[in-house]
């Protein structure tokens, strides 16, 4: 750790007991109940309410958002150690020593998530009214979206890991249903399945971590796990940390479980914006930051988190640079940006706050970018190939404006929001290690490259439209959310730094640590900005004149790899899919044929009358009996080995 | 294990005798195959003529056979009970009567549903 400076300031997280939920905070459950009720109504009423379904969808989430804002104002009026509230709905499982309540915890960390989910969620709901206007199943779409919001709120409001797991599975299910929403596309159904299976791998991590916590601490509530974390052995904590990291990697599309996110772009664009950019994919970051009491005590697991974050940050950026599909390029960018957050979360108290800060700004500007991309697609017959875009800025000026705001935010041009959050992460990274810091700066440069490539290919240059394309601006129901998010992209960073004071706000939950840095902050910011501008310059240089309609074939190995998602599918195939499939095939074969063949062979050898074998039609029964006998012998042998001295 | 030694010896003797006699007859006995020899039961009784295409017996045959077995087993239970009737007392009497009723029920069922009609 070359760059590790002396600790300048240090604040430990406040492990104060939760306040009883009184006043407005009695209604924490309403935050979840509203969208859930909306989902139930929309999904069970069949063709009833078909014309008004989307209104219900928007209204329930909107009211939740308003309630969330009221709670925020109320919370801001209280002192810093008085901002966490707990509410128990009912005892869920109480068996033996195991006691889990359906109970909610609203503190500073979950508060910002509630706002992100409900406000961005409301805007995306409104946008979807226009985007899905011609879809016959629009009502079902809104039902699934509401289901997602409810599950995501449950995830961030749960006061214990088991209830969090419920939300975790819930968002997975909703995401899965929404990726496969256009089921008539085979690719969509396949993508949904892939997302589900890979997520299950991550879920193994979470369920094992929960079991391990239960064994170690006798409880799975946040408060008692964190209060007792110091008493557990180092190896236990490391295991819990690594298992939680596996879970986070699955949900947040981090290396090595990143493969599903690019395919997930088969879903409708509002879904990509809400679930696969702004909220669900950041659940992994939430999990790590929420479990700070564990990661603070295990250097190994925390370092693993940083490594995973750095790797994903780089490969996501590289993939984003090579994709011609605008949504997939944005998906690569999402992977990369979440890599930043995971990296920051792995830095410990130096980085937790900035992980969440970047998560919030990213949630806004990435939703903005995705919805702008959706607006472009809406005007271009649902095309996604950037090689067939170009010169669209005149045709869709609002979309262009919103996209530009998002663009400036993500590459981190001051005073747009990404500048504040990303620079903080790079700063924190340098406090910990120069290598990680340099990787952060490098990724910022690549971000500048691929985002410029995207904006140039889409909005500038010559028109390379398909013959029947008539680009036009989207209806107001879509552009108004875009405008709001565009302003959000511009100002969220500033607002959170100067008005919201995000560092002070989150410190009671996550703790904060500052370290001495060899170089002044301003120099570091200049350095980062310069790197970004180099990336921007390179992209403009390459794409300034013409963009070939067919992707060039003579490209570097890196580009080929990036186009193939870093050969991820091939790797998955070799590592996981084929072995499982062959095992299953072998077992089937063994069950049906091998044993039978053995019996037949035995019978033929013993009897010497193979001709008669043909008359045996239902020979399977004796096969089964033979297997039973073998099983009996095996069981008796095993018992004999143990029981006989 | 010594207590089991005689059992093992007995088992070995029995198996040895079986192997010995089967092997011996197969070596010494004359082999004159004819139709009766390859029949299912080599003891002279002609098997029931069977329908074409499969070795099915009429279901009626099974019904009669099962009826025989049921009442046969009933006797097995009734004999010891009758012999020890005086010692066993009222409880055993009631239990036996219940047993007989239970046995009568399927008999009645079979009779009423035509199980005893041969044609």
């Amino acid at each position: 750790m070359i760059g590790t400076g002396a600790v300048v300031a240090q604040t430990a997280p406040l492990l104060a007991p939760l306040n009883a939920a009184t006043g407005i905070f009695q209604y924490i459950w309403v935050l979840i109940a509203l969208p859930l009720a909306g989902a139930i109504i929309l999904l069970t009423t069949g063709s009833l309410l078909k014309r008004w379904g989307h209104i219900i969808g928007v209204a329930t989430v909107g009211v939740s958002a308003i309630l969330g804002i009221i709670m925020l104002l109320e919370m801001m009026g209280r002192s810093a150690d008085d901002r966490a509230f707990g509410q128990t709905a009912f005892t869920w499982v109480f068996a033996g020593q195991f006691d889990v309540d359906v109970a909610f915890q609203l503190d500073q960390l979950s508060m910002v998530f509630v706002l992100l989910i409900t406000i961005v969620g409301t805007l995306i709901h409104i946008y979807s009214i226009g985007y899905m206007a011609h879809d016959p199943d629009r009502k079902r779409f809104f039902g699934f979206l509401n289901l997602f919001i409810a599950a995501m709120l449950l995830l961030v409001l749960a006061d214990n890991y088991l209830l969090l797991y419920v939300g975790w599975e819930g968002v997975g299910l909703a995401s899965y249903l929404l990726i496969g929403f256009w089921q008539y596309k085979n690719s969509a159904a396949a993508a949904a399945k892939k997302a589900f299976v890979i997520n299950r791998v991550g879920d193994v991590g979470l369920s094992l971590a929960i079991m391990l916590m239960f064994v170690t601490f006798g409880s799975v509530t946040f408060s008692s796990v964190f209060a007792n974390a110091g008493e557990a052995s180092d190896s236990t904590l490391t295991w819990i940390g690594l298992l939680l990291l596996l879970a986070a990697a699955g949900k947040s599309a981090q290396f090595p479980l990143q493969a599903w996110l690019l395919d997930a772009m088969e879903g409708p664009t509002p879904v990509s914006a809400l679930i696969h950019a702004a909220t669900m994919v950041t659940a992994g970051v939430y999990l790590i930051v929420r479990s700070n009491a564990i990661y603070d005590r295990t250097v190994f697991a925390a370092t693993a988190v940083v490594v995973v974050g750095v790797i994903t940050m780089i490969i996501g950026a590289i993939i984003g640079s090579a994709k011609d599909d605008i949504k997939k390029a944005l998906a690569g960018s999402t992977m990369s940006q979440i890599g930043y957050m995971v990296l920051a979360a792995g830095l410990g108290p130096i980085g937790y706050v900035f992980a969440i800060f970047h998560l919030l700004t990213h949630g806004v500007f990435k939703a903005n970018l995705f919805l702008s991309a959706g607006s472009v697609m809406h005007g271009m017959n649902n095309g996604v190939n950037m090689r067939r875009f170009g010169a669209l800025r005149a045709a869709m000026i609002i979309t262009f404006g919103a996209f530009t705001a998002g663009y400036l935010a993500i590459i981190g041009i001051p005073p747009f929001s990404g500048f504040y959050s990303k620079d903080k992460i790079i700063h924190a990274a340098f406090e910990q290690s120069n290598i990680v810091g340099i990787a952060g700066v490098l990724a910022a440069g690549i971000t500048g490259f691929y985002m410029t490539r995207m904006i140039v290919m889409t909005f500038f240059g010559k028109a390379r439209w398909e013959d029947d394309a008539h680009p036009h601006e989207s209806p107001p129901v879509m552009t108004i959310p875009l405008i709001i998010l565009g302003f959000g992209s511009a100002f969220t960073g500033m607002a959170l730094v100067y008005w919201g004071d995000i560092e002070t706000w989150l410190t009671p939950v996550t703790g904060l640590e500052e370290r001495e840095l060899a170089i002044p902050t301003v120099v570091l910011e200049m350095l980062t900005l310069a790197t970004v501008l180099v990336g921007v310059g390179v992209a403009i240089w390459i794409y300034r004149r013409s963009v070939p309609i067919e992707p060039p074939q003579k490209v570097s190995v890196l580009t080929v790899a990036a186009r193939q998602n870093m050969f991820d599918d091939a790797i998955n195939d070799v590592v996981a899919v084929r072995p499982t499939w062959y095992t299953a095939r072998f077992l089937v074969w063994f069950d049906n044929r091998a044993v039978d063949g053995f019996v037949n062979g035995l019978a033929a050898a013993v009897g010497g009358v193979s001709g008669r074998l043909r008359r045996i039609q239902t020979g399977f029964t004796r096969t089964y009996a033979l297997v039973m006998v073998i099983g009996v012998l095996a069981v008796l042998t095993a018992l004999g080995l143990v029981m006989l001295p | 294990m010594n207590a089991y030694a005689p059992i093992f010896v007995l088992a070995l003797l029995a198996a040895g005798f079986a192997v010995f006699s089967v092997t011996l007859t197969s070596f010494t006995g004359p082999k004159r195959y004819n139709r009766a020899k390859v029949d299912a039961y080599e003891c002279g009784i002609e098997p029931t003529p069977q329908p074409l295409g499969g070795g099915r017996f009429p279901v009626k045959y099974y019904l009669t056979a099962m009826m025989f077995i049921i009442f046969d087993i009933e006797i097995v239970f009734l004999y010891p009970w009758a012999v020890a009737f005086d010692q066993l007392g009222l409880f055993a009497f009631i239990a036996m009567m219940l047993f007989l009723v239970n046995l009568a029920v399927p008999y009645v069922y079979e009779w009423r549903r035509g199980g005893l009609d041969w044609d």
Binding site: A189, A634, P645 | F91, V105
Partner: protein
């Protein structure tokens, strides 16, 4: 005259539920003998439901009873499991009573002895013949199951095993559609079942040879009195356990399960899958805990291997199935593995968890087979998975219920299956069986794949040109579906009352 037989002191009230069901079954046979054909079905329905409900009411009034009466132990586990068996029986009886889905009548062959596809069968079918014997047969099976969970000695356990199994062999062969498959299933089930019964009784003889008694507590006493090991114990123990493992369908005694589940009429499969598991696990628990609880270190390793093999083989083989009934059969094998994890724990939490799991699994299974019985093509059930493509479009309510049952099997939160898996794994963790739990979690991940595949098929796949029709059922099957959905959701969201119940009833009397 000093050797007068001392009449056993029987608590008739405690065994009244079994007596009610048993006597009604006998009366049912008499109804078959004497009642004219036309009202027979009605009388049988009244008798069956009346007996099952009456038995359940009496059982409830016995709550808290803990008594050993003769060879039966009426204690917490047996009461809970008997109640569960009765509830499952009531619901599956509704499934069997369904007459509207098959245009030719109910799910059963009009006369099981008629040759499949013969003229005789066709005539019987068109004249509307019904096989009303299924009702007494089912009641006999229920008596056997109830007896099985309460049997406190090996002989009664064996008799219960046979009373339970014999009617099921018959019921398996009575399908109206696909008669040959059904009869083959019945024969296989019978032959292999007889085979396993032989193992059981042989093992019981061995244990008697060792301990001089057939009562389970007696065997436990003999074990603690003679700690030295002899082959009689482990061979006897092994054979009895194998007989029981066969009934729950554990690997490697599982191969009958797919064939029998596929061949039997769906209503019978549902009954078999749900209720036989309850009864057999009840007996297995009692045998392991009461007779061999003190010797657990000796048998746990072997059962560990069986549980792991059962979970993995069931889950992996289910992936390649193309018939939904076969798939559910392999799934039931995997579920048996998960339940075994709770059995192996040998602690009160394990007993409670197993009972909860059985309830959760039982009702989800009933629901799943109820759905299967409604998806039909050319008169019969459309069980090939490809037929299920796009079912969500045709019949969203049915597809949603099926998805719920699949999610419950997969152990997704807020369904009964999740709580079941969690309590089972918790009990195993308390018993320091962490590796077993890890295998369990991995197996449940594998299993999730094929459950979800059904959901994918129903919702994400375009329906085939000539798809199956979804039949509108009568009130019977509708009720079955409603009850199964309700139980699956309630046990997932508000499991506490049931958890309290099984926790109060988690100690075996000995």
């Amino acid at each position: 005259m000093d050797d007068v037989l001392i009449a056993p002191d029987i608590d008739y009230l405690a065994v009244a539920p079994m007596i009610i069901v048993g006597v009604t079954a006998v009366v049912g046979v008499l109804v078959e003998a004497f009642a004219p054909r036309r009202p027979r079905r009605g009388i049988q329905l009244v008798l069956t439901f009346g007996a099952l409900i009456a038995a359940f009411v009496v059982l409830i009034s016995q709550a808290g009873t803990r008594v050993i009466t003769g060879s039966l132990a009426i204690d917490g586990p047996s009461l809970v499991l008997q109640g569960l068996i009765l509830l499952i029986a009531i619901v599956s009886a509704m499934l069997m009573a369904e007459r509207r889905v098959d245009p030719a009548g109910d799910a059963f062959s009009p006369r099981a002895s008629a040759l499949p596809g013969s003229e005789e069968e066709r005539v019987l079918s068109t004249r509307g013949f019904m096989q009303t014997e299924v009702w007494p047969l089912m009641l006999f099976a229920v008596v056997g199951m109830m007896l099985f969970t309460a049997a406190n000695d090996l002989l009664v356990m064996f008799i219960a095993l046979e009373i339970m199994s014999l009617p099921l062999y018959l019921l398996a062969g009575m399908s109206r559609r696909r008669r040959l498959l059904s009869q083959e299933a019945a024969l296989k089930y019978f032959i292999l079942g007889a085979f396993s019964s032989a193992f059981f009784i042989f093992g019981a003889a061995m244990l008697y040879g060792f301990s001089g008694t057939i009562s389970l507590p007696g065997i436990a006493d003999a074990l603690s009195a003679n700690p030295g090991q002899t082959p009689l114990i482990f061979i006897g123990f092994g054979l009895v356990v194998i007989g029981l493992l066969f009934k729950v369908g554990a690997v490697p005694f599982h191969q009958w399960v797919p064939d029998v589940y596929q061949g039997s009429p769906s209503a019978v499969t549902a009954f078999m899958a749900a209720a036989v598991k309850v009864a057999a696990f009840g007996a297995l628990l009692r045998f392991l805990y009461v007779a061999f609880g003190g010797a657990r270190w000796d048998w746990q390793p072997a059962l560990w291997i069986i549980a792991i093999a059962t979970m993995l083989v069931g889950s992996i083989l289910a992936i390649t199935q193309t018939d939904i009934k076969r798939m559910l059969a392999y799934s039931s094998i995997a579920q048996a593995g998960f339940i075994l994890v709770g059995v192996i724990a040998v602690n009160p939490e394990g007993v409670a968890a197993v009972m909860f799991y059985l309830a959760a699994y039982g009702f989800a299974t009933l629901g799943a087979f109820a759905v299967i019985s409604l998806v039909r093509q050319d008169g019969g059930e459309a069980t090939h998975l490809s037929n299920w493509a796009g079912l969500g479009k045709r019949s969203p309510v049915l597809a949603l219920s099926m998805s719920l049952f699949m999610l419950s099997f997969a152990g997704i939160p807020l369904t009964s299956g999740f709580i079941g898996k969690f309590t089972v794994f918790e009990a195993a963790i308390l018993a320091d069986a962490v590796p077993l739990v890890i295998v369990g979690v991995i197996a449940s991940i594998i299993a999730a794949f094929f459950y979800v595949r059904v959901i994918v098929l129903m919702f994400f796949t375009e329906p085939a040109e000539v798809g199956p029709t979804v039949v509108l059922p009568s009130v019977f099957t509708t009720l079955v579906l409603a009850i199964s959905v309700a139980v699956t959701v309630i046990l997932g969201v508000f499991p506490q009352p049931v958890l309290d119940l099984v926790e109060q009833a988690n100690v075996f009397l000995r």
